[in-house]
Symmetry: C2
């Protein structure tokens, strides 16, 4: 008889680009999503949760920056004809839902959605193939009031999760204004919109590099081109100085108030219908925000925002954290963008043939959590449970009674469930759990009707810093009558916090 | 030139077996998960969130009741060698995580996890291919205290989400006791454990039908077999009357208290080592629960529980709701099981070769939500926002200011963002949104410094029931000074609730 072949053991590993989240990483994200959801709800938005799986047909063309279908998504064949795929964002499912249920949904439809999305991309440091998105969109309203509302809500949301006013700014720009500037500068002809697309691409990328290259660098890229420090040459858009002046004027148009910025933009887009329309839209948004009390300390009209300008059709918004952090190389830098969005007016057209206007934002929840941890606003680990140690294996029922009393009083607590033989292991366990308190009840204590209550946080502090005298003066372990267990633990927890 | 082929429009449909969740369906589930998580946390359990995607290798053999690999899961090939799959439960990922991170995790490791799982099965009414699971497991403890704790936590959890004491019961049984009974009845030989597996299968299925067939029906299946009303004959296990008596004695062993049940079981398993061990385990659990204050009004030792007995290796638990509901055919029936679990002692063996004991439960969140809705404990839809109507399109900034005031006061509110031309459409919209209140400020009101505040809930009641006199006496629309907007709305909301 052939010997049965032994299967090799499977590897216990997450797939490449996926990760596990433990303890506070999970609960803090839940709390953040809950806080965000509460603001969205207050603004009248309704929750929507779709499945992780959609038909490839319904998802359609995938990531905006990828042309080949199936590129960037996890997909598999369901049967001979149907392909299924994991959603790569929350906007494509919204389009499908709105087209599918439009007769039952209110119009306009304000909806929010939170959950994981999947990208079949090469993973990198800090780049995962599953991550959370948290979106809010208003479908079916062409009114600038919808855009203004999204910006105000974004501002309220950032403050609700713990970003102080002054530590963030919501910047607003408009695709149409940029198109107007392009038209005035002679690189966009409304009667032949495909011409000079290459030049416009260079202009857009040049503007996006303003932070890094400064005005002179951008000007070089708008003109003949630019050689960087390494000697590499980047082709320019070939604009004349006069043409470049118009673009530079645009990105420098930001004034002290929205009204001042809008006034300058009005001058710049003279002669372009689309440009005038875009500036009027920005003006309306600025007025509505001002009426709602959202001043430039929170939301600004900022023509230098270009991210997403290629994708959106009208207003675009971006939320940036303005405080400085140290990057991995120890250099100071601004934390940067944590949310972005804009208006896109063809949400469901591919399903229904109808143009339905929509506008919305997506918040990068994990980046926002990272920011709060950087600022020390949230602890990256939480406090562990009170641990009831097991001195006498046969009296497990006594320990169970203690832990039940503590839990019933709302105190996080557990009884040690490992092998109780080695008491040192129990204290090591409590340490690994970051337990604030350990309860000890041996035979002598039981006979005397008392329990030992050990302050593990004070104990650790004393062990690190105290002199022998201090050690004696500040005992980290106290005795309490058994019937005072809950009250004594609660008092100790209050003192610790 | 060939005419470009027109692509047909994609269908806006969820894939077969998947569905969308709207509004309160989403937020009520979030609230329930939050409430459950709070109890788990209080018990010292730590959150764990794994990705939806695992390697097929790590998932291993799939659903316990399915032998062919890939059956029952959504899987796809990542590259030449690796297959990935969507997780089908939360236990397989726990096994992978514990094997992967065991050096960094505390032992015992109490963890909870909540999230969607995917099953590639034929969908049916109420059976979806993505659904939520909500699990808690203790890994690395062989102590019955771990099992008792899980049962107590399950009881606390049900009460925390709104199931009143008396409306549920947690039943506990033990696989080893059943094995002992099988041994005593002569259908299990510990020295040849594979023999008579067929008979034992029939016995197990017969016990599971006790509710439906009664003792006589079960007895027939234990013996020669049973003909049902339709005339179909089901083969029996071929037990003698004496053998059948032992099995029947087992399923009828439940006494008034855990101690009484355990005493009877002790008699039944005399002579079987495994049986005695199982009864001792049940006895320990009963004692620990009693010490924690969990009496038979919440948790009972019940030998008639067999679900999962084929899968688990020691104690098993099941939570059942005991109140009656009407099924789809209008018949009264008990709501039934909403959670189940047990002990399984080979969690990570396939990864590490080591046996690691584990015990845990899984709560069916969607069933629990359905139960609360049946009992009227939660509304299936929530109240909509206050709607600020738009009487004058040019004064959007005024309406924006009102809605900002309301939101800043914590009141859910929105301004109407559709085309404001037809005022009737605005009230229809408010109705569809289940808005409690509409705010109206036309030119006359603006000039007089007032707003109209319309009680839509009272209005609907009056429209349905009131006589003309009552209508006049109880105006559903009141005037308020503009600067009393928030206070007046708040008072009206308070009156409504």
């Amino acid at each position: 008889m052939a010997k049965q072949k032994k299967q090799p053991r499977p590897k216990a590993m997450t797939p490449k680009g996926f990760r596990d989240y433990f303890g506070a990483e999970v609960t803090q994200r839940s709390e953040m999503l809950r806080a965000i959801g509460a603001v969205y709800h207050r603004y009248g938005f309704e929750a929507l949760e779709t499945a992780g799986v959609e038909t490839v047909e319904a998802l359609g063309k995938f990531l905006p920056d990828v042309d080949r279908p199936n590129e960037g998504v996890f997909a598999w064949q369901e049967d001979e004809s149907d392909w299924l795929a994991l959603r790569y964002d929350l906007t494509a499912p919204l389009a499908r839902v709105y087209a599918q249920h439009r007769n039952d949904l209110p119009t306009p439809y304000r909806r929010y959605a939170m959950g994981p999305v999947w990208r079949n991309e090469k993973p990198g440091p800090g780049r995962y193939r599953q991550f959370y998105q948290c979106d809010a969109d208003t479908v079916g309203s062409a009114s600038m009031a919808a855009d203004a509302e999204i910006c105000a809500m974004l501002s309220d949301t950032l403050e609700a999760v713990g970003i102080a006013r002054g530590d963030y700014v919501v910047r607003v720009n408009n695709r149409k204004v940029l198109n107007g500037v392009m038209e005035v500068a002679g690189v966009l002809d409304p009667s032949d919109p495909e011409a000079k697309a290459h030049e416009r691409g260079i202009v857009l990328r040049a503007i996006d590099k303003l932070d890094r290259l400064g005005v002179a660098g951008v000007r070089a890229l708008l003109g003949a081109g630019r050689k960087d420090e390494s000697g590499d040459f980047t082709d320019g858009a070939g604009l004349s100085d006069e043409q470049a002046d118009i673009v530079i004027g645009f990105i420098e148009a930001r004034g002290d108030t929205g009204a001042a910025t809008v006034a300058r933009l009005h001058e710049l887009v003279q002669g372009s219908d689309i440009g005038v329309q875009g500036v009027n839209e920005l003006e309306t948004i600025a007025e509505l925000l001002s009426a709602g009390g959202y001043g430039p300390d929170r939301i600004v009209i900022d023509p230098s925002v270009v991210r997403g300008l290629g994708y959106y059709t009208g207003p675009v918004y971006e939320a940036e954290l303005t405080f400085e952090i140290f990057d991995e190389k120890g250099r100071k830098r601004q934390f940067g963008s944590v949310a972005g969005g804009g208006r896109y007016d063809d949400l469901v057209k591919r399903f229904t043939g109808q143009e339905v206007p929509a506008t919305g934002i997506s918040i990068g929840v994990d980046r926002l959590l990272a920011a709060l941890r950087e600022k020390g606003r949230i602890e990256s680990r939480d406090v562990g449970p009170v641990v009831v140690t097991v001195m006498d294996r046969d009296r497990m029922a006594d320990y169970q009674a203690m832990v039940a009393e503590l839990r019933n009083a709302g105190i996080r607590a557990e009884v040690y469930l490992g092998n109780p033989k080695n008491f040192g292991n129990q204290l090591k366990y409590a340490d690994r759990r970051r337990s604030p308190i350990a309860i000890i009840e041996g035979g002598d204590e039981k006979a005397a009707g008392i329990v030992q209550i050990k302050d593990l946080i004070l104990g650790a502090q004393i062990a690190e810093n105290a002199t022998l005298e201090e050690w004696k003066e500040r005992p980290s372990q106290i005795e309490a009558p058994r019937n005072q267990l809950v009250a004594t633990v609660r008092a100790m927890l209050d003192r610790q916090s």
